[in-house]
Subunit: 458 residues, 2 copies
């Protein structure tokens, strides 16, 4: 078996790995697929820790676990960067039903949106008004909305090939629905889950009241896609149905937390810093496996793979596990602030926060010269079926680092299944495929290697 | 990944529909993603019919169901093509254990390989010899193998990015292991499942005794990957363990069955036939959802999408659901024989038999001129993240049609998860993602449209 494996290895080397760069990429992919640690780490984070909402015990456990694991990798330095984070708690399980006539009720799966206020202890019960966007509120006006619960039911557009595009075209209902509906005297908001599939999982996510005075804030919840369909059909048959929901979530005082950081110091240009990261916090309903446990373990794996393959970086490579991406972005903001205060020179940052699915490539937020440089490497990625190198969004946590010189990049995995699980109880370890996760880590490590070796075009 | 920052998402995949071809592709993808039927069909085939081994009641039900569904599409002609198929039945559930000392036994999940003979009614019990390939048998020789059970334990190579490559480097153990081991007097064969993941599912699949006389045929079973690992470790500690297994499978007489065929007659060149297909039979352990229910419903969907989008084909487009790919290829062989006998001119054939995962492109078995023509269309597929257009394998069922003129093509979906489910009880409907399935159907329909419109270069 050993001989055969060696033979296969040599054959593959002959086929794919001719230049030193091609050889290094092959070493990285081979190590990721045969000696990877990312999947084991994610198993622990998902199954032993679970959902890691900012300020929770689980988030703190994840800080401690990942710090300890980074320390075991023999990096040059591992530390915690303190950051104050908002603390929102869900409270007792939410409850909702609609009533077609007195006593005739049908339960519907809901969950409070992150940041929402509670309902009164007895819940909210009112007639429903179904709308499909924020602009529709204005046309209805206070007369039709006062005292009502607004039901936002614009679905994600299945025609979008890249599902994040469908998400970004829909998510204003969730983020701003309550603030806008409150202006017209609505008493509550329920929002169709950001999910392309019809199922029974409500999907939570951040919402904001903007400058709505505290006394005017109304509770907001997500409803499953099946629930939304049922409710919409029922409303067409009987516009007078009442909807009732109860939730006991709370916004508490900010609490201390941490970004977890580890680095390999550069051997030639230690002052030039390259960041690779994901966010360690997650929503509370699932295990935060795809969002974004996957990105965290892939980022840790990048440094491990570079060490494992014997590559000594010229520049300082830093893994950052950001806290509080989901409901505050305090970790990303803090990291950029401190980098600026210390006058650190960040030349590159890569985030993985689109799930641990089969990687397709990267989107780059950088100068044309650096994009051209990346395009020059495309051929090397072809054996790994990596083909997407386009301008685009990088990642929420690294965006605060943006300036004219830096290369920001986002890993782009296959997006078809992501919103099936995103922010829901369905975001669990079993949704992650080991090889897909490992291929993502190897793809990230390869890009980091190339930008480290050749530098960022200034 | 969250929300507010996504307002900054730079949309890189703009689907500009400018040329008539680009417009037609957009119509096809939109229809597949918003009005698709493939997922509903697959639900029925998987959950209402289930595993469809050639000659089974389920296979016949699938013939009737798909014929009926094709008839509802308003095709020009739908018919059944009779073909005799082998009938192998699994019998009562298999059973296996290893014994470290008398009475100390550990059960291990196994399943008979398709085509295998039964063990004697009391089972086979013998010492084990672990090997990693067929060539190793020769070096061991009769002395070390006579009276033993041979345990083939060469794993799939995780370093292969395309998992089908790892499969084809391993599968000789399954197909020929028993015939080879019998030459040296072995009394049974167990083979590590063709699965890149460590889990408890045994994966069946076809095996052949070649010209081994009937009296010398020995039973062959697959063992789960976890079982194989456990057995291998145990053998290292205690080479004298005994392995016992019992199976009651049988090869019966051939029985009649059918290929299911439907066509839209060409408006300009009706004599030129283009085939799109998958195989309707499956293994019996799961539901045959990914292998190859997915390919069947995608192929039916191709014709439906062409009609739905108002496209009138110049050539005759034929969907063929082949019977008996898994253990005989009688359907594919029969179809090609009749085509030849009738002097039909087949110019193109496309098969989907690699799962209904996110499509990445096609492999082509055709002339350089036709590959060049396909390359010329690559740009049109970019908005749909279809990037792979290479020479390669098409599909088992359409290969008998091969000649110098025909274009043979195989859909190439993402392959990372395929062998997790392939030929096992795990190949069920819930493993299929609706959008991934639909994108595959649309990608196939787009290629068929282009080859119909522009013709095959002769």
């Amino acid at each position: 078996m050993k001989n055969l494996a060696l033979l296969l290895f040599l054959i593959t080397i002959q086929v794919f790995a001719q230049t030193p760069d091609e050889k290094q990429l092959k070493l990285i992919y081979d190590a990721a697929l045969t000696q990877g640690k990312a999947y084991d780490w994610l198993n622990y984070i998902s199954n032993q820790i679970g959902g890691r909402l900012s300020g929770s015990v689980q988030a703190q456990k994840a800080v401690e676990y990942t710090k300890q694991q980074m320390e075991s990798l023999g990096l040059d330095k591992v530390w915690l960067q303190p950051v104050m984070v908002p603390k929102w708690v869900r409270g007792t399980p939410e409850f909702a039903y609609f009533e077609t006539s007195p006593g005739m009720t049908t339960n519907i799966p809901i969950c409070a949106l992150g940041g929402s206020v509670a309902t009164p202890p007895g819940g909210v019960k009112a007639n429903l008004v179904e709308v499909h966007g924020l602009e529709e509120l204005k046309s209805l006006g206070r007369k039709k909305l006062e005292g009502k619960i607004v039901f936002f039911n614009r679905p994600m557009d299945p025609k979008k090939i890249e599902t994040f595009e469908a998400y970004s075209n829909c998510v204003d209902q969730r983020t701003s629905g309550a603030a806008e509906a409150a202006k017209y005297g609505a008493v509550g908001v329920i929002v169709r889950s950001m999910n392309l599939r019809l199922d029974d999982f409500p999907h939570t996510g951040a919402m904001s009241y903007g400058d709505t005075p505290i006394k005017d804030r109304i509770p907001a919840a997500a409803i499953s896609t099946n629930g939304a369909e049922l409710l919409s059909i029922t409303l067409k048959l009987n516009p007078d149905i009442k909807f009732a929901f109860r939730q006991s979530c709370q916004n508490l005082e900010d609490v201390p937390s941490f970004n977890v950081i580890g680095e390999i110091r550069g051997s030639v240009h230690p002052e030039e810093i390259m960041v690779v990261g994901g966010h360690l916090d997650s929503w509370d309903l699932g295990q935060g496996a795809q969002d974004d446990g996957a990105g965290c373990v892939q980022s840790m794996e990048v440094l491990r793979l570079l060490k494992k393959t014997g590559y000594r970086p010229k520049r300082t490579i830093r893994v950052v596990l950001f806290m509080n991406e989901e409901n505050g972005l305090r970790g990303g903001t803090k990291y950029a602030e401190e980098a600026k205060a210390k006058n650190e020179k960040h030349v590159f940052a890569l985030e993985s926060d689109s799930g641990g699915y089969t990687p397709r490539g990267f989107s780059f937020d950088c100068s044309d010269a650096n994009l051209a440089q990346a395009h020059g490497w495309k051929k090397m990625f072809e054996p790994y079926l990596i083909h997407f190198f386009e301008k685009g969004y990088s990642g929420a946590d690294i965006l605060p680092l943006k300036n004219d010189q830096i290369v920001l990049a986002g890993l782009r995995p296959d997006s078809q299944r992501y919103f099936d699980v995103h922010h829901s109880a369905n975001d669990t370890f079993d949704q992650v495929n080991k090889r897909e996760l490992e291929l993502g880590a190897a793809t990230m490590a390869s890009l980091v290697y190339l930008f480290d070796k050749y530098g960022v075009v200034q």
